[in-house]
């Protein structure tokens, strides 16, 4: 009977842990995506900045 209680608890804990792990993988995926977006933004800002500087020098 004790084994029974233990195995039931184990089943529930495993499912709960799997839900937690998925959430961690979601975090990683979101972080990767954010990093990519930030580097894209930085590049665009640099290009825009260079463009503005060139325009100012030309004008």
């Amino acid at each position: 009977f004790l084994e029974d209680v233990k195995s039931q608890a184990k089943g529930e804990l495993q499912a709960s842990q799997s839900r937690y792990q998925a959430q961690r993988q979601v975090t990683q995926a979101l972080q990767t995506e954010l990093l990519e977006l930030y580097s894209r933004l930085e590049k665009e800002d640099a290009v825009a900045g260079a463009g503005a500087a060139a325009a100012a020098a030309g004008g």
Partner: protein
């Protein structure tokens, strides 16, 4: 008389399965044995698959709680993909399942790179398409696809490369003339092994026949795949004997007629029991 006997057996089997399913704590081993020996009644199939694949734990008292976790996990992953715009309302459901699985195994492709799908992803999609025709609820469907694919590669990954050899062996026992013909026209190395042994006949057999094969895979045998392949070859022997180009043979088998597949699967299961024995633990 034959049908009476089969019908009677069916009722008896269903009763013995119902007794197994009444337990507060399901005996997974006995459920495996049952599924190896008998066809699962369709009303219990999805439930039994969920138990055998560990989506539901043995304890009935935990099922509601565990299923709520499963559902939440499904929604969490899906929502993240929507926010990341990996998934839109126009994305086909099986591709949603694929991306969810990729995210969960940390293998989400970079979206900036438009790369063709890996063969594994194509196999996943084929299995997902078939599962989606068998299972209605999308939460159940995703979990079943994911656990089926994971179980298959973890448990049988090492055996799969040997299945073509095994097919050759059993075909030589059943019909050496057909085997010789296939060898002579160099078709043995070009049979649709991916479709048969990596996709487990998803996209090859109609779902009503396919699910009876998957019963056996889920409950612990990948060898059944070999016997299904043997019976397909035997079933279309006359056609195959008339073909000499390996590409014609492959082409025919990849687009196999969908008519007699139930009979093919029944024969395959008999042949499998004949060669590999029927599990005889008490049920």
């Amino acid at each position: 008389a034959y049908y009476e006997k089969v019908g009677f057996r069916g009722v008896e089997e269903k009763k013995s399965l119902e007794i197994l399913l009444k337990d507060d704590r399901l005996d997974v081993e006995k459920l495996c044995t049952f599924s190896q020996r008998f066809p699962l009644p369709s009303m219990y199939r999805i439930f039994v698959w969920k138990v055998l694949l560990g989506i539901l734990p043995p304890h009935g008292d935990s099922h509601a709680l565990v299923m709520s976790y499963r559902k939440q996990q499904y929604e969490d992953v899906l929502q993240a993909l929507q926010v990341m715009r990996f998934v839109q309302s126009s994305t086909p459901q099986v591709e949603v399942y694929l991306h969810m699985h990729q995210l969960e195994s940390l293998a989400l492709p970079r979206r900036t790179e438009v790369t063709p799908l890996e063969p594994e992803a194509e196999d996943f999609l084929a299995i997902a398409r078939a599962m989606a025709k068998i299972v209605e609820s999308s939460v159940d469907c995703y979990w079943l696809i994911k656990c089926f694919v994971n179980q298959y590669s973890n448990k049988y990954g090492d055996s799969v490369p040997h299945l073509p050899k095994s097919l050759e062996h059993f075909l030589s026992l059943e019909d050496s003339r057909l085997l010789n013909h296939l060898r002579t026209c160099n078709a043995m190395s070009k049979l649709p092994y991916n479709l048969w042994f990596r996709r487990c006949f998803a996209g090859c057999l109609p779902e009503s026949s396919l699910q009876r094969v998957w019963d056996k895979i889920i409950s612990g045998s990948c060898k059944i795949l070999v016997f299904v392949a043997v019976e397909i070859l035997l079933g279309y022997k006359i056609m195959l004997m008339g073909m000499n180009k390996p590409e014609d043979i492959t082409q025919f088998l990849e687009n196999m007629p969908q008519e007699n597949t139930d009979a093919i699967v029944t024969k395959a299961i008999d042949l499998w029991h004949k060669h590999c024995g029927t599990p005889m633990h008490s049920v």
